[in-house]
């Protein structure tokens, strides 16, 4: 027989996992304020997610870096740098950057959006799959930061006066914003909401 803390009139401390009665305001052990579920979970997740989605457009369109070599300067976008990796036969690197910068953010934004919509509709289908989807989204999200680190490193390293220098473009700031906001979004989402709907019906 399975029952949840919520159904038993109990509440689990989000910080230290001590179980308390629901009339308690603060955790007896660690002093954290107790919440049955993360407060304003759906609204906050939506806000972070939509901002991230909006910022993804300038992140794709604006230049991420400008390379100056002997008087010539060349700007490139995120997609442009992936293509130039592929053309210079660095296929594995092109794949890594493509997955980290294009596939993961889009998958994360769509995946969290799907979780939010399904929770708001009170969906009872594929609950375990959705719980696993959330776990996967939390796990892969951080890896999008690779390209931000690459640009920061290139900019710091390649400062060889007139021979070669690299400058960061506005696109990489927008992209860093996308990654940070999607991490905020997945932190704000409360996975227990996925399970709440089916239990209400039983």
């Amino acid at each position: 027989m399975i029952s949840t803390a919520l159904e038993e009139g109990l509440i689990s401390c989000h910080a230290c996992s001590l179980v308390a009665n629901q009339e308690f305001r603060r955790c007896d052990r660690c002093g954290s304020i107790l919440h049955k579920r993360k407060p304003t979970s759906l609204g906050s997740t939506w806000a972070y997610l939509l901002t991230a989605a909006g910022l993804y457009i300038p992140a794709m369109l604006l230049p991420v870096s400008t390379v100056n070599t002997l008087g010539l300067s060349e700007t490139s976008t995120l997609m442009g740098s992936i293509i130039s990796f592929a053309q210079s036969d660095a296929i594995p690197v092109a794949v890594v950057i493509f997955v980290a910068s294009i596939v993961v953010p889009i998958f994360k934004i769509l995946g969290l959006g799907y979780l939010l919509v399904s929770v708001q509709r009170g969906s009872k289908r594929g609950v375990l799959q959705r719980a696993k989807l959330y776990r996967f989204i939390e796990f892969v999200g951080r890896w999008s930061m690779v390209d931000v680190f690459v640009v920061a490193l290139l900019v710091s390293l390649v400062q060889l006066g007139v021979f070669a220098s690299i400058e960061p473009g506005p696109g990489i700031i927008a992209f860093a914003g996308v990654v940070v906001l999607t991490i905020f979004a997945s932190n704000a989402f409360d996975p227990r909401l996925i399970w709440d709907a089916p239990n209400d019906g039983e």
Binding site: E8, L10, D147
Partner: protein
């Protein structure tokens, strides 16, 4: 059945799906998982505190090396440049992009430092006794920055940068780069050795014992 207050300490709710479980005494190297969604609830490992403390202290040594020694260098047609981790972030802040510098500085210097010092501050009192007055602030801090742990992702970034530059310049790795790898390895091992729920439970055992003594 028996839900009077003292047995509340024997319960644990799954952090991901809220199902209640009655705690069981685990054998060494065992972990308890949620019966419904499979999330990890708590675990037991012999000498976990000792191991994690030793690894964290090694992590602190690597951290100091990582911020003091040269990190990477390039040379191309006579021009040469070596950079340190902290100095390069400072330069990035002053000359190129303050926003990017703040982000990278937080992710690669500030958060890793909080993590290693926080772990040491948690683990030393636990190693000496079960009472850890005031250390719960470090527990919460270390758990809060956990989603921002990106040190291993930075290593992938270094490899990509290396590939990008091999055609135009020679790249060489400094001591700080190897220290960075050491830091990632020992801190990952330290976090694997301990389980935060189990550490919190130690605190409670101490308090319950005190309660009974009064």
């Amino acid at each position: 059945m028996e839900t009077n207050p003292p047995t509340l300490a024997a319960l644990i709710a799954c952090p991901e799906c809220d199902v209640l479980h009655v705690r069981k005494v685990l054998k060494d190297s065992e972990a308890a998982h949620c019966v419904r969604c499979g999330a990890k609830l708590y675990s037991k490992r012999r000498n976990d505190i000792q191991q994690a403390l030793a690894l964290s202290l090694a992590g602190l040594v690597f951290f100091v090396m990582m911020v003091t020694f040269p990190f990477l260098g390039i040379s191309s047609s006579g021009a040469e440049r070596n950079i340190g981790l902290v100095k390069s972030i400072g330069e990035l802040y002053l000359t190129q992009s303050p926003l990017l510098a703040i982000l990278v500085g937080l992710l690669l210097v500030v958060f890793p430092l909080i993590k290693v010092l926080g772990l040491i501050a948690i683990l030393i009192p636990l190693q000496i006794s079960n009472r850890i007055p005031g250390t719960d602030i470090y527990f919460k801090l270390v758990e809060r920055i956990a989603p921002w742990n990106m040190t291993e992702i930075y290593l992938v970034g270094v490899i990509v940068t290396f590939v990008k530059l091999t055609s135009i310049a020679d790249v060489n790795y400094g001591i700080a780069f190897w220290a960075f790898i050491g830091f990632v390895v020992v801190m990952t091992a330290a976090m694997n050795a301990i389980n935060f729920t189990s550490l919190w439970d130690r605190l409670e055992v101490g308090e319950i014992n005190d309660f009974h003594e009064k």
